[in-house]
Symmetry: C3
Amino acid sequence: MKFCAPAPENDRPLSATEVALMLDGTLDGDGNHAITGVSELAAAVDDQASYWLPRSSVGGCAAGLVLVPQEAELPEELMTRPARVAVARPDLAAALLAQHFDLARPRWTGVHERAFIDPTATLGEGCTVHAGAWIGPGCKLGAGCEIHPNVVVEAGTLLGIGCTVHANSVLGADGFGYVWSGSKHEKVPQQGCVEVGDGVEIGACTTIDRGTYGVTVIGDGCILDNQVQIGHNCVLGRFVVLCAQVGLAGSTTIGDGAVLGGRAASSGHLHIGAGVRMAGAAVATKDIPDGLTVGGYPAWELTSETRAIARLRRLIRESRS
Amino acid sequence: MKFCAPAPENDRPLSATEVALMLDGTLDGDGNHAITGVSELAAAVDDQASYWLPRSSVGGCAAGLVLVPQEAELPEELMTRPARVAVARPDLAAALLAQHFDLARPRWTGVHERAFIDPTATLGEGCTVHAGAWIGPGCKLGAGCEIHPNVVVEAGTLLGIGCTVHANSVLGADGFGYVWSGSKHEKVPQQGCVEVGDGVEIGACTTIDRGTYGVTVIGDGCILDNQVQIGHNCVLGRFVVLCAQVGLAGSTTIGDGAVLGGRAASSGHLHIGAGVRMAGAAVATKDIPDGLTVGGYPAWELTSETRAIARLRRLIRESRS
Amino acid sequence: MKFCAPAPENDRPLSATEVALMLDGTLDGDGNHAITGVSELAAAVDDQASYWLPRSSVGGCAAGLVLVPQEAELPEELMTRPARVAVARPDLAAALLAQHFDLARPRWTGVHERAFIDPTATLGEGCTVHAGAWIGPGCKLGAGCEIHPNVVVEAGTLLGIGCTVHANSVLGADGFGYVWSGSKHEKVPQQGCVEVGDGVEIGACTTIDRGTYGVTVIGDGCILDNQVQIGHNCVLGRFVVLCAQVGLAGSTTIGDGAVLGGRAASSGHLHIGAGVRMAGAAVATKDIPDGLTVGGYPAWELTSETRAIARLRRLIRESRS
């Protein structure tokens, strides 16, 4: 493991003109104003950029550069800032600019001597594996993965290119499969594995079980927050979003781009369609069609859930008097 | 730690005749057909066994041997397979056959040099402790336990024979006990411990707190999934099933064979009877009698919960028009 | 790391007279009776103290000393015990007495050679860091912290004096921040950090994310149970209590002394007032005023939630007949 110096091209200030060029935006103001980082609008200082969206409050903004929407009417206060750059999506532009400066942060790369890498595991180029991480037999990690401290990647797990797994998560533990024999729970050996696509980010203390026979799949570009639990043989499409504490029982399948709010869940052996949005703590107990926004337990249209709660509560309030 | 070669008796194909003999079943078809493993019906190939239950779909089954119920009428398609073995419980028989072949999988045994074992801890014969696992002072592990990487077993924890603890779980952390002094939360020192029976399997990122004074008990043959949380002084009977993300507040007691669905919970200081079944996310707030099936929060008969939800939703739907 | 012998002043029996003196109580009975520890009333034996509160059952108490409320009428059975000490708060007095004896327990102090401490991290005097723990670049720990095995403290995290973090928790993992670009989730680099105050105790497998730009704050004297999830930029006041499996979405702020029951949650960007009490599994979806006791999802007055549930269930029961 070695400590990488920042890339020189990322480790210097950018002028407002350079920022506008990088983000394909239109500059208004002082093109020479120097920017060294990004912060939120309320906290940004003179050498930092931030972004503004219509209806955001501006109160006392001190940013040196503000990313703003094209053709929007700007609050007076923003006009006093040294520079504005109009872009199609200010929030996205701010993220990209922050990514640029983030590359200047020095960081460890390589495999720490106190990581455990099984001799039969293979790591792609530029992988970082921190101390205490454990990569089991037959695992394959694509190039540029970062495995945080004390993560456990059990035998046979495959990760694509550029994945990040945060601390203390577990990929490939046994699925929860037993058959009651009449006198004990006989274990169904969990022979399958976990396959994670490219560009996936997995939070801390998250668990993804291996398939019983087949494969548990996390598609390209999925993002999983902390303390998410994925049962055996779940199959997630691409760019699925699972917020913290989501729990998916075995053999749940999820279409591309679905977004599950915090602590949403599936009772298993069902399909959550592409583009579905589940409210926090919603529980899917049957298939959910593509594109639906659902809430409640069992999950149904969120508007119905909201009305049901409102109606029940109105009843109670009326019955008080 | 050393890498064990597979047991020779497990590392060879079985003929269909041998499979029938081992599983106390009745063979129909080619007794010489060779089987090297088990898979699910849809995925099994010519040298693999699988199982069929009435009403399962068969679509394109290519298994070399199918375990089927005694005296069941079989779909045509299964009759074209090389061999069938009729048994009392096909799902159970498949698990036992898979266990046989699973023993052929080479595996590490012993204590990895990067595991931490306190000098006052004792390990039974044939225990496996992986790298990064931590076994504290005074712990006692029965024979044949497997402790996965980065598991933490705090001081004084007892495990029975043949237990498995999956990665990153924590046994014996302090219970959550404080007394508000008027100016701070004074900690109640957690002097108790955790006792785990024989043949218990514990999932990944699960936490079992030590007793405050007495003991937190996990009975023989219990199975706990991932991200389960057990508070101080809980006492689980034998063969209890806790699915993922279950949470038991302190001093919950559970009778033999109860099954708690995913994310079910107890508010503590109550008894969940033997054989109780709790639906996913059900929350017990008072004692639940033996054998009851419950759902909802507070947990009551599941049929009532289902009716309550249905009625409320019908109301809403009617009030739309 | 070295094994500390118990402090001699803690490693000897106390006479009942000494106990009364230490706890500012009034002795009744044998002042010479020797006490070596504390246990619960039902389990305490002749050399142990315990405590009694009005309405507690006494059944077969064998404690050598019982802490009782001042001016309370005591059950006959307690009068047969060797000694009673009347104090203002028996439960608190028992905790303090147990803390005294707990200091006699020998324990490891110092930094284990298999802990990872980044060279740029600084540890206050008397810190204990167990094997497998990971303390990242720029972290600062106040004096007397105890970091249990396999805890991960990511870069830049600050802990105050006398904090305890139980096994396998993660402080300072990235917050969950992305912007959808139209073709992928662009990560918002998580530049902020985590600041933990003095005297904070954090359970096992708990995760506290760093701020996106600013700081995630855990105030002095907070107590967090196991499997708690704190999103980026949350700010907790002093002495907040979070029971197991609580989940706080990003930018939740909590006032001093609030108590969140097991699995309570916040949907983020809202304020939970000082002294608020949230029932188990309650979900705050908007600000909650100081001092309110709430339940349900969305959280409202707990009395209303209880009535709503009761009313719905009565409806169902009536419609049965």
